[in-house]
Symmetry: C2
Subunit: 233 residues, 2 copies
DNA sequence: GACAGCATTATGTATGCACATATTCGAGTC
DNA sequence: GACTCGAATATGTGCATACATAATGCTGTC
């Protein structure tokens, strides 16, 4: 599997040469045709190997110029954003869910801004708690743009979380994630059973459909929560 | 560019059908050969389009079974981990750097555990502050495994940050990132000029070389710091 | 009916070829 | 010397074909 006539094998060999400093950062490496000859494989194979390395940020490629080893190989951490139920069940814990508040409301300025809505927009505001083995796991504060998802207004969110319902109902085009550390406010303190001011890891996610903003959600994780992810290299 | 005889065009069309619910989550979609016929292109082209969609998590593929639309399209947020100097300069601010403490020390249990070292290991301990326009931006607490990077012991880290020096010096194979919210301790309060207990966004990064752990670093960001990243869809 | 083994099928990959496209470089022109 | 334009070149992509590989399901045997 590590032979240089498979694209994986070629990629491994190129990685090895870069790590071994045979090809140093900034260096121009041989062109695809030459490498193909050296490795005894087709140019297509070398192309795929190098293309994926470029995607990973290890090399930079430009037509006519050639391929060079990246100067500052930008590490990339890929954070997977699963449905919360699955996140909890994957950890071997029992999932619980409770809807706390529910009603239509004007979006606060922060939310309107994040979604690019006017303050006159009608939104559905939900507050819900997700439990792991009966204990609070994360507090969810969500606004749904009723102009984009009108059927949400009369939907029953008391059993299934809006998270899952939206995924099944609305096609999602793109989104944005913001991670920050916030002090626990009075509402969060009550819902999570935590003393006020405690640092909470906070995730804010904006989601857009094909043309309209769909939802903004803020997740307050329990103290000590960690997001862990491998770094691609 | 959106014609269905380029892999981009095929991918766009498949995305469109999924978003339009023509192919719903869980559905089996036609096989590559049939799609190639329909789109009037080679199977290779369809293959590349679907392969990348699978990588993005929008579809799931299994040999013999076929390709089906993902049930819970797992959103992926890719966080780029640049060198801190570049992060600051990219924001149009002036970068500053100061080494606070420097010396060899036994790694604390937490660090030894994260790197998989015994407590007897010799490490270099550095503490440094990164400034943006003269104001504290992030506090860095770093341990370097001297068994893996012996030349670090007598290197001068007062001018250039260990971050950049290590990238240029040691080939990195893999790493792990943990994000959490921590209360500001007394040392951090002094270095960042922040009152104790304030929530700080904390990043912990472990890095391994080819066979040995290289470094563990903890970054304490200023209050209010946000990590923002697009979500792939 | 249980099970081993084989045929089937869809994806995965390699190859040789052709042509597209971006970029560089140098020749020719003023 | 500056500038324009075309040749050269490395990557990007598409195609037809062949074979590899994994998973499924069927078939025959006991």
């Amino acid at each position: 599997m590590s032979d240089t006539n498979t694209w994986q094998g070629v990629q491994d060999e190129v990685r090895r040469r870069i790590r071994a400093r045979q090809w140093k950062p900034g260096d121009l490496i041989p062109n695809e045709a030459d490498l193909a000859t050296e490795f005894g494989c087709a140019r297509t194979t070398v192309n795929r190997a190098l293309r994926e390395l470029a995607g990973a940020g290890l090399v930079e490629r430009r037509r006519k110029s050639g391929t060079r080893v990246a100067l500052h190989p930008v590490g990339k951490a890929v954070i997977e954003i699963p449905v919360i139920r699955q996140e909890i069940e994957a950890g071997g814990q029992r999932y619980g869910y409770g809807l706390l508040t529910h009603g239509t409301a004007r979006p606060p300025a922060r939310v309107a801004y994040a979604l690019g809505l006017g303050d006159a927009a009608r939104t559905l505001h939900l507050s819900a708690i997700h439990l792991a083995d009966g204990a609070p796991y994360v507090l969810e504060d969500r606004w749904i743009n009723l102009a984009a998802v009108p059927q949400a207004e009369h939907h029953d969110f008391s059993r299934k979380s809006a998270n899952e319902w939206l995924l099944e109902t609305v096609p999602v085009a793109r989104g944005e994630l913001a991670i920050s550390a916030q002090p626990c406010g009075p509402d969060e303190a009550r819902a999570l059973d935590v003393t006020e001011g405690t640092p909470l890891l906070t995730l804010e996610r904006s989601t857009w459909g094909l043309d309209a903003p769909v939802t903004f959600v803020r997740l307050w994780h329990m103290p000590g929560h960690r997001i862990v992810s491998p770094i691609a290299g």
